[in-house]
Symmetry: C2
Subunit: 155 residues, 2 copies
């Protein structure tokens, strides 16, 4: 495991509730590549990716390169990635934007037991193991977990 | 880690290519609950969940129950779950349904480096830590990873 413990970095806001995390993980993820975006801090990230946003690049690790075969035929792709800076122990959160305390599963906040994000992007180009896409809103350097055609696309 | 090694269970089909998996995981997942469906084998599962399909239940572990606060106000929910029986080492696959060999990332097959599925379901009811939903297509007993309001819903 190469994870840090971001819990220590942030304080609880009003009415937020944290729980003890389970003593061990139940399954393991492989990071399969890296996402490059123009955004270096969370404050710079757009709140939601837009299909007419800037082009970002996704670099897939050499090990998985052959798994991109046939992807160029799809225009919209679902991207899963790991929000590695998010704490994982909050069950109630008070987002800055609303200051209304809400359950973690009623929010799309990065702060959640398993900080996996899912975005739909438009595929602009593929060259080698690098994809150019539009529609992301994550930090530069975010670890990639998965790529798949959008649900309902031809399969 | 409680994972089994399903690689040994299945043979390669024509033109399929497997790679060596990385020596270690990069991040760990917590299973946060269990999904109950009418389907005990992969053959019984529908190919794609339907919002007018049967009601299935999602039981969230007690530790995370408070994180459901406010979820009842959302009609459509994104469910992430772990397809624990799928092998993880194929980069080229030959699905039975088409027999056309294709890259893993150009398919929504369960067989992928990180076997995470994403479904949109309709929330029928919540009682305690149990959700009744329509739209799933997974095996009975599938581990739950995350719940969040559908993208674009009020937030």
């Amino acid at each position: 495991m190469t994870e840090k413990s971001p819990e220590a970095e942030s304080e609880l806001r009003q009415d937020e509730v944290a729980v003890a995390l389970p003593p061990q993980h139940d399954a393991g993820l492989y990071f399969i590549g890296t996402i490059h975006t123009p955004w270096q801090t969370r404050q710079e990230c757009p709140k939601r990716g837009s299909l007419d946003g800037p082009i970002c690049s996704i670099v897939v690790d050499e090990r998985w390169r052959m798994a991109l075969t046939g992807l160029a035929g799809h225009r919209r792709i679902q991207v899963l990635y790991w929000m590695q800076r998010a704490r994982r122990d909050l069950v109630l959160q008070t987002p800055f934007s609303t200051m209304r305390t809400t359950g973690t599963f009623a929010l799309r906040s990065p702060v959640r037991p398993n900080p996996i994000a899912s975005s739909i992007v438009e595929l602009v180009a593929i060259g080698g193991a690098t994809l150019q896409v539009r529609g992301l809103d994550c930090l530069d350097g975010t670890p990639l977990i998965d790529l798949k055609p959008e649900r309902g696309a031809s399969e």
